[in-house]
């Protein structure tokens, strides 16, 4: 059974794909050309809008944002450099995120594997689930003050839900045939859980972690916007109080970079830990 070096069927399909819309406009159809045009147009538009002061003083020009970022790199704000603030936010997320996932993922797995655990935990979980994590901020401040604990608490609350739900659904949606295979090969319940449940639920768990991560960023920002002396949320709220739009936009860009980097890290970890994950959207 030699593997075909060049599959004819694939070859045909590739050609069909190439002949998708706008073949005539050969130059314009190039994806990278379009990307360049789009990004350039975006920055030009941004610059023009800021220069013409469409929003009054509420928008900074791109170069101002870069200058401001450079300045913040050197200066310290509230006793911390820019990287210190980025780390403050990241630090909170790491603590809250790991706490939540360490508790929620096993709990979700247990709920899926045992009906009694499910019957016991589910109602309380369903009661607390619909409250957005941001709504917990006020009560967290009443409980823990405005220190680190309240921020970590909000992140835990926010990331708990998707972690648990995805672990639960990951086990629930396993194809029953896989269990049949293990049983037919003489496996007991323990084999079923270790050989089938965990590996098959892994991609879903990681999807839950990815969702949690983006929620964690929302939570930490909201908490920092409400009250804090450090973190990226502090930077943008400080920009608002000092009415420096360049600082706000710089902070937003940093948040985007940090959030993007962290989600990249998680997907890298996922590729490393579970190479058997099937690609759903390969094209």
């Amino acid at each position: 059974m030699a593997k075909p070096i060049r599959s004819i069927a694939n070859e045909v399909q590739m050609q069909v794909k190439e002949k998708r819309p706008f073949t005539i406009l050969t130059v314009l159809k190039n994806r990278w050309f379009l990307y360049t045009v789009s990004i350039t147009a975006f920055f030009l538009l941004w610059d023009t809008v800021a220069y013409r002061r469409v929003f009054g003083g509420g928008l900074a020009r791109p170069q101002e944002v870069i200058t401001q970022l450079g300045k913040m790199m050197v200066d310290t704000m509230a006793g911390k450099s820019l990287m210190g603030h980025v780390w403050a936010s990241t630090h909170r997320i790491l603590i809250g995120f790991s706490l939540a996932s360490i508790v929620a993922v096993p709990l979700g797995l247990m709920m899926a594997l045992n009906r009694y655990v499910n019957a016991f935990v589910r109602p309380v979980f369903d009661l607390l689930k619909p409250m957005p994590p941001i709504a917990w901020i006020s009560i967290a401040i009443l409980w823990f003050g405005i220190g680190e604990e309240s921020k970590v608490f909000i992140i835990v609350v926010g990331t708990f839900v998707p972690c648990l739900l995805n672990a639960f659904n990951g086990v629930r949606l396993i194809e029953p045939q896989l269990y049949d295979v293990v049983r037919m090969l003489g496996g007991n319940r323990r084999d079923e859980i270790i050989q089938v449940c965990f590996p098959a639920a892994f991609p879903a768990i990681f999807a839950g972690l990815q969702i949690s991560l983006s929620i964690a960023w929302t939570c930490v920002l909201a908490a920092e916007l409400v009250s804090s002396r450090s973190g990226l949320g502090f930077i943008i709220i400080q920009g608002m109080t000092l009415s420096k739009p360049a600082q706000i936009i710089g902070g937003m860009l940093l948040i985007a970079v940090a959030a993007w980097g962290m989600s990249l890290l998680v997907s890298g970890l996922e590729k490393f830990l579970c190479p058997w994950k099937r690609e759903v959207m390969s094209q």
Partner: protein, 264 residues
């Protein structure tokens, strides 16, 4: 006989357990307040919250509006932003899925903006629009548009290629394929976005109201914290959760009616 016993016995425990756990939860909550384990300045008991709920139905003090008005303001803001997000996001996502030019032009900007949590827009929107309804609608719009675009994009991309090739064989134009094959086949994904976008909108609405508002459920929570009234905070949280669930059920119903004929 034995068969009946087994089939009845197991669900009995399972039937009782949810109620037991709920009662235990509420009972513990009530008890820690009543016996002073947790001071009343930090948490209100369920009965206190319920009492305040009854009072707040008619009494606008101390935060300036009755409960229904807070809820209505929030729902109004959330729905405006939500509908706008659907109106812009779904067509954009569908077009991005099919037309290379639209994708090439819109995608980089979308990818640039997507990782920024909508909450981070709050300071800028306060600059731009003040603390009125426009700013909040903008934040909700930003929050809601992301899942709309992604889901409709993926929906079009997941169209069965055989159908597209068949249509092309029969001489259908690009636009015809898009309209008659890609859109219908993307519909289930698009409708999936409705719920996701709603959840995003609702979460971020609360965030927007915590920071800049003079009305609404998020404002109720903030006022509760400022006045150190834990019963008001908890009431606000419960109302946010409850309203979210009610809206979710309504959207679910609408979705089921609209999708009545479509195979999922």
């Amino acid at each position: 006989m034995a068969y009946e016993q087994v089939s009845v016995k197991t669900p009995l425990g399972l039937r009782v357990l949810p109620f037991a756990s709920l009662l235990l939860f509420l009972g513990t909550w009530q008890a820690v307040i009543d016996f002073g384990v947790v001071p009343n300045t930090m948490l209100a008991s369920p009965t206190q919250v319920f009492k305040l709920f009854l009072v707040k139905l008619t009494d606008p003090n101390p935060d300036g509006a009755v409960l229904i008005r807070h809820a209505w303001t929030s729902v109004q803001e959330a729905f405006t932003g939500y509908i706008l997000a659907l109106l812009v996001g779904i067509p954009l996502g569908l077009l991005m899925g099919w037309f290379v030019v639209v994708e090439g032009l819109a995608r980089p900007i979308f990818e640039l903006i997507r990782p920024i949590p909508p909450i981070a827009w709050i300071p800028l929107t306060i600059f731009w629009f003040g603390i009125g309804i426009t700013g909040k609608v903008f934040i909700i719009w930003v929050a809601g548009i992301v899942p709309c675009v992604i889901n409709s994009f993926v929906g079009v991309r997941m169209t069965n290629p055989t159908l597209i090739q068949m249509a092309r064989t029969y001489g259908a134009s690009d636009w015809q394929i898009f309209r008659q094959i890609c859109i219908p086949s993307a519909l289930p994904m698009v409708f999936g976005a409705l719920q996701i976008a709603l959840a995003y909108c609702w979460t971020n609405l609360v965030g927007a109201e915590l920071l800049a508002a003079d009305n609404g459920l998020g404002y109720l929570i903030t006022m509760g914290r400022r006045l150190a009234l834990p019963d008001m905070v908890v009431l606000g949280m419960i109302m946010v959760g409850l309203t979210g669930v009610v809206i979710g059920v309504i959207i679910d119903y609408v979705e089921k009616r609209l999708l009545a004929g479509i195979r999922r």
